[in-house]
Amino acid sequence: MTTSNFDRRYLLMMAVGLFILLVVIYPLWQVFFRSFLDAGAFSLKSYRKVFAYPAYYRALLNSVWVSCVTAALCMVSGTLLAFLVVRTDLPGKKSLRTLLVLPYALPSFFAAIAWIQLLGPQGYLARLFFQLSGWETAPWNIYSAGGIVFVLTVHYFILVFITVAGALERMDASLEEAARASGANTYRIMREITLPLVLPAILAGGLLAFIGALANFGIPALLGMRARFFVLTTSIYYALAIPDFGLATALSSMLVVVALVSMTFQFALQKGEGRYTVISGKSVRPSELRLRSMRYPLFSCTAVFVFCISIVPIFSMVLTALLKYWGAPLAQASLTLEHFAYILKLDTGRRAIVNSLFLAAVAATLTTFVGILISYMHVKARLKGSRILDFLATIPYAVPHTVIAIAMILAWAKPPVSLYGTLWIILVAYLAVYLPFAVRTTNSTLQQIHNSLEEAARVSGAKIFPRLRDIILPLAWPGMIAGWILVFMPALRELTVSILLYAYHTETIGVVVFNLQDAGYREVAAALASIVMGLLIVGNTVIRRLTGGAAGF
């Protein structure tokens, strides 16, 4: 019997620590570090440049105001819909809810493309409007700040909806009943009791929407660049095209700062929710508000709205893919499958599909694997220092993906390790982007496995590796598969990171759809997007089945 004190689990911990260091910490440190560097010396030149040129500081201001307005609109629409769906006797609530969440399962730049197809100068809805009104031009312009705010809102309001709906469902009915007993009528109760109680949830959801809008690249890129309206993410893209790394890193640092500040608020709000302990535990389901004569009018409005934001864009995308040419009359004679055939025959298209499948599968496998190790050390073994590992692995969650891409270029695109122009640099970036999501699912998976199951294996004489192989991994398997799909699906259609890191031969699906759309090949872009949408919807269904609805959208 050995009496050595060395725990070989620490070996594992060091390996995982090294992985996080290479994939997350070192690259992100590079961004920060390089933003203060000019020709090898400390300098604030890059930051001065940002504030010297209106084009750059305006990007910062644009980012902030666009995100603020988006968050405000999301809070209003998300809260309203959550009230209607959770607290009233609106008919068909369940189906409405499912449909509401649908658009979020699709990438945001698909939404941008779909809304261009609908509201753009030759858009389906625009043409309908011309016919109905007799006008020659539309009173709106999708290629504008307004267009960006609109599409961002449609994409992110669901974050407010989900947090508010959750808070409303957990709210103790007796609070409202007490108000009712004191003689207040329904509308007063809503205004004076219910609304103040869910206010933290509304704000928390609003901040999530703000962070999402701030970090979004696809929507402002497709709708704003053409109108020369830049936000931080698109300015970074632009700065890299020059290329001006100093500027790109300075803009990135600012983006990170804004994101971190709002993240901190969001975190504080969620913690503060504990003070309102009324929203907790199992309690009676709150009573439903009777809409009475408003029931069907409100239902029609909601249904039309939900139909417009979830069904219409998908329909429009598929229709565009099936039309002979963009703008063709909508007669059945002009339907064709040739765009699908074309994209599948196109070298770039085929390559992109293979690349994306490869990247998504490898990223999902590696992040799930590393995730389960981190969770094991943190949740199960509770090793000293494992909390730090868990924390470090979740850092990328707070970092906009554009910045992660820049970080990879700075860290891994120069000798001695130059991955630039290869799939590997995209892979490393995906690992950083998706590691936090993987760790979150593996953490909850392992939390559900009782400690004594592993302890029994230890008592049986099993050391760390047999224990992982025989007990932990088999028990965690279903959760890991769900976690794998949860990384695979978004990675399959990733745009923000790939567009900054791709080179000839390493295009991903997102890049090809974006470039085709940007170059005016709308039908082909729509065909590829439709294929991906099909895959995503199938994957989403599978994952909801697997997890009993706990994961997926």
Partner: protein
């Protein structure tokens, strides 16, 4: 020969001192229980012996091997300790059949297949699970899972068996039955058992010796009868069995006997070595009191509960309410005026330990 020896074991979780310098040992072939209220640190002691927790201070020996020593920096990992353990929730692996569960420790030892099969046959027979070998745990009852866990703990022929409240998840009937099975199993195998429970009846019934714990400290170690009849302090007296606590005064003593006055002037000679004088607490077991029409201390029956083999009374005497248990030979009605006779009592210091007066 001592099979487990624990010296000055302490375990601290942050500010909580879960175990406070515990010292005791378990002899060969002994059934030894750790008994105490919830949160007193019993499980922590057991987990330190298993190596699942690292002691903050102290030494642990299993057999002749020192498995823990904070002074010399020794902490043998669990997987190398010669122990078997059964967990409160059984911890039977849900993805393995009964056979695979029990065979696992042997598989880890890399024993040849034929040997594993031979040993498994015996083990399955010992716990009476031959016909269930191919089932998965979710197709087993609580008692059957319990036996799988036991067989798995015994299969590698450990030097000691550690059990953490293994019966607490079973229903009352099955718990009774498993008590006997466990006891029987231990007699047959002769394996020393360290058993953790908060159920004093269970501990008294099964143990050769037991240690009573409170707030991380070991208060008393001894055989069940000894602990029952000579509790070390008021806490133990209260925790083990039923006890009436009455305020009293020591009037004087001669040799090993003290004369106390309680219940409004009643005097009693009590065997006592505590050397107490003045105010004290007089503790009387319900079965050390008899009720009769003529007893010297007048009382009134307030509540009577008939519970099968005996009758349980609450009687008011002077200002105190006493629990009295008598055989059911004579049954008195509620409200009846009677007298009580106290045969035995113990003395404790005032304000010491827990307990209700």
């Amino acid at each position: 020969m001592e099979k487990i020896r624990i010296l000055n074991l302490s375990k601290r979780y942050g500010k909580v001192l879960a175990v406070d310098s515990a010292t005791f040992s378990v002899e060969d072939k002994e059934f030894f229980s750790l008994l105490g209220p919830s949160g007193c640190g019993k499980s922590t002691v057991l987990r330190c012996v298993a190596g699942l927790e690292e002691p903050t201070e102290g030494e642990i020996y299993i057999g002749q091997t020192r498995v823990n020593s904070t002074v010399d920096g020794i902490n043998v990992p669990t997987e190398l300790r010669p122990i078997g353990m059964v967990f409160q929730n059984y911890a039977v692996w849900p993805h393995m059949t009964v056979y695979e569960n029990i065979a696992y420790p042997l598989k880890i030892k890399k024993l040849p297949k034929e040997l594993i099969q031979a040993k498994l046959k015996v083990a399955l027979h010992t716990v009476g699970l031959e016909r269930l070998a191919d089932r998965y745990p979710n197709q087993l009852s609580g008692g059957e899972q319990q036996r799988v866990a036991l067989a798995r703990a015994l299969i590698k022929e450990p030097e000691v068996l550690l059990l953490d409240e293994p019966l607490s998840n079973l229903d009352a009937k099955l718990r009774e039955q498993m008590r006997f099975e466990l006891k029987d199993l231990q007699r047959r195998t002769g394996i020393p058992i360290l058993y953790v429970t908060h159920d004093q009846a269970e501990a008294l019934a099964m143990s050769d010796r037991l240690a009573v714990m409170n707030a991380g400290r070991i208060i008393q170690v001894g055989a069940p009868t000894e602990i029952y009849t000579h509790p070390a302090d008021r806490f133990v007296a209260d925790f083990i069995g039923l006890m009436n606590f009455l305020p009293g005064r020591v009037l004087g003593r001669s040799g090993e006997e003290a004369t106390v006055e309680f219940l409004g002037g009643h005097r009693l000679n009590v065997a006592d070595r505590s050397g107490l004088s003045g105010g004290c607490v007089v503790a009387v077991r319900p079965e050390d009191i008899t009720l009769s029409l003529t007893g010297p201390i007048r009382c009134r029956v307030e509540v009577r509960n008939y519970s099968g083999n005996l009758v349980d009374y609450k009687v008011r005497a002077d200002d105190a309410v006493l629990r009295v248990q008598t055989p059911k030979t004579e049954i008195f009605a509620e409200g009846k005026e009677l007298g009580i006779t106290i045969h035995r009592a113990m003395l404790f210091q005032l304000g010491e330990g827990r307990g209700s007066g």
